[in-house]
Assembly symmetry: C2
Homo-oligomer: 416 residues x 2
């Protein structure tokens, strides 16, 4: 009888340490931005490990890298698992790497157990998830879902002057023995393990998040204009102060939107007053409003509230308000079957889980356009991510890999 | 019988036009910053006009330029009248020039009438009132009141690299025939005409402001610190958002301080969020608070309110608040006899007047340390100043000069 496949935590942790050494920073974080030499070194290490286990390798025009463990019927679309290997410039050891290496651990566990799967299982390392060196982020998964690379993406320039098109070509050329395949080959389903990048699981002491949705995001830029005036000589009645208007609007929004709707997020991360004199009423105040909600209707309602409140506050100060949409991503609900597979796998492993809405984007958002997709979250220390201090307890890395394997077995119809 | 002295409005307006041509900008304003060639040209023109009327000229180590019409007793301290000739880089035609040239008109009116005054009357053009090219502003009047030039002022550098010490020397050398006198010679009283640089007189259609005080000013810098966090992944309960704290504090202050006390001014001209990401709760928000009040006790009370409110708002968001004082100038009440002299002169000339607190600093603030000092304000269009669009109706320039003359006659005991 075939032994049940099981992940080996020590092997996973060793692999995490080996990849964390590629691009390691002085503060113990990782600088391995997309399509750099560091990124290529990480891909080369993954390819070496894959070949050592006899897995097949493929890459596509977006330099997405696939590791394939063949299934009983090689003609069926594979079950896809993975994440990304690129990091922020001062990134951590787990964002992306955990999901990619847990997927490799899954392939090895199947191989260790000698388990035949009805269809192939493939690991994928998506190109440029972070978007810190080249825009847009999630470039690999977007291209995969669209079946093409948008020509303008190839012209994107890094701050160091490098052009995306050349860096993609150099990255593909660095693994000359890996076969090319077309962008957007069919997929049966996609499952991704990732760190939460937020505080909820840790604070509630729940090791597994069954991600039910990725919330929608809208970035607004509000500009209020009044009249510059001398701070000393201008009485209240003669002021048209856009700072007073901005503060009144923001106070209203900050005391209403999130307090009245626990699923809503409203964040003001940027604000500027012009001309910026200590002793002058500003002529113009502009600020960003990042709003998020899992429900598209509520997201639209919050945007409408921002518009109404800003207009009313500006009018009250005899100022004007303009509201521009800078970015707009609709909410995504993951397929119920995928959420259930994660919950079931967690329960069978004796791990507590809860449903969670992802506040951040992930490659799974784009994969959901072409196949049932799902995500597993594990806690990260203090919710810190995109930071060299990012950390994940070994038991949570192991738990995440266990549920990734269990979820895959559920989806493959091989769970006990 | 000696005719009553009277100002000649056309002569004053011609002189204003002649000085506005020195440093005239394309937009019809004036760029005649302190101790530049333009400033020297204006001083040279004033000296030429003075010599043509037979007035004596003096300058001191701060390059303050004095035009003296001798009195019956040359040993008595003079009545001093004047303002400044320097401008902002994109300044107007009236800020400083009106007060200086109205003072010259006063000397000429006395001369035209052949009126003997019991003491000398002197015009002064103070050096570097604006402070835009060299710090500090009001350098000439500060040095005069202190009786010395602070040695560190001589080391001040202009943005063009020029050193104040050299520019002062070159400016003095440009009028080699003008006798030097010590800094801080005794003064019987000081009266200054200036444009209001605010909207009150114009909106109330009152031609003369009898300035009762210069309000105190305190500049605070508030820094609130919380914790940077992902805008998408961090629920309200896990946020330590200094932007929410800053907005709550500012909303409280903006809806209380000025609305509840018409003499108070509270202005937020600068605000900054760090790191300034659209999609991150900021780690730190800092802003300026410019508070002004004619009463020292109220000024201190408003500062205390800013401190209390900022601390409370920060604490409510689990953030910290620091409040630093960046600048502090105590309020000044002008001598009642000076205010009355202005009111009486206005009434005798059939001009409506009202008492007014100056929101801006002026040279008179420093002169009040060594002699009874007073100021006359006239309306400027839309309250606009420090701007090339600065404008004053001819009837208001004439009214100001009339009250300057009338006030001087009151102080000299020569009023009818």
């Amino acid at each position: 009888m075939t032994p049940l496949p099981a992940i080996r935590p020590e092997r996973l942790l060793d692999r995490l340490a080996a990849f964390a050494a590629i691009g390691r920073t002085a503060k113990g974080g990782v600088d391995r931005q997309a399509l750099t030499e560091g990124d290529r070194a990480a891909r080369a290490l993954l390819a070496r490990l894959a070949r050592a286990r006899g897995f097949a390798l493929f890459q596509d025009a977006a330099a997405n890298l696939f590791v394939r463990r063949e299934g009983a019927d090689s003609g069926l679309p594979p079950l896809l698992v993975g994440s990304h290997l690129d990091t922020q410039p001062t990134g951590g050891r787990f964002d992306g790497a955990l999901g990619t290496l847990a997927a490799f651990e899954l392939l090895e566990a199947l191989e260790d157990a000698g388990l035949a799967t009805p269809r192939a299982v493939e690991l994928v390392a998506w190109t440029n998830e972070e978007g810190s060196r080249f825009s847009p982020g999630c470039l690999g998964s977007q291209a995969f879902a669209a079946g093409r690379l948008a020509p303008e993406w190839l012209e994107a320039r890094a701050p160091d002057g490098a052009r995306l098109g050349e860096e993609l070509a150099a990255t593909l050329a660095a693994l000359p023995e890996v076969a090319m395949r077309p962008l957007g080959t069919p997929v049966a389903a996609y499952l991704e393990l990732h760190i939460e990048q937020g505080p909820v699981l840790e604070r509630e002491d729940v090791p597994i998040g069954a991600v039910s949705a990725i919330q929608g995001t809208r970035w607004l830029e509000v500009t209020m204009e009044g009249a510059a005036a001398h701070a000393g000589t201008t009485p209240l009645a003669f002021r048209r102060d856009p700072m007073v208007a901005a503060v009144a609007a923001l106070h209203h929004l900050q005391t209403r939107v999130m307090p009245e709707d626990p699923a809503a997020r409203l964040t003001v991360g940027r604000i500027r007053a012009e001309p910026g004199s200590i002793n002058a009423v500003p002529e113009r105040v502009s600020f960003s409003v990042d709003i998020r909600h899992p429900d598209a209707g509520r997201l639209a309602a919050i945007e409408a509230e921002v518009r109404d409140v800003c207009t009313a506050s500006a009018t009250a100060q005899d100022c004007t308000a303009r509201v521009a949409v800078r970015f707009d991503m609709a909410p995504l609900a993951f397929a119920e079957e995928m959420i259930r597979a994660v919950e079931t796998a967690a329960a069978k492993a004796g791990l507590a889980s809860r449903r969670l809405v992802s506040g951040a984007f992930h490659d799974a958002l784009f994969l959901a356009r072409v196949a049932p997709a799902g995500m597993i979250f594990v806690p990260c220390r203090d919710g810190v991510s995109h930071n060299e201090a990012e950390d994940v307890e070994p038991r949570f890395s192991a738990a995440g890999a266990t549920v990734l394997l269990g979820g895959a077995l559920e989806l493959l119809g091989l769970a006990g």
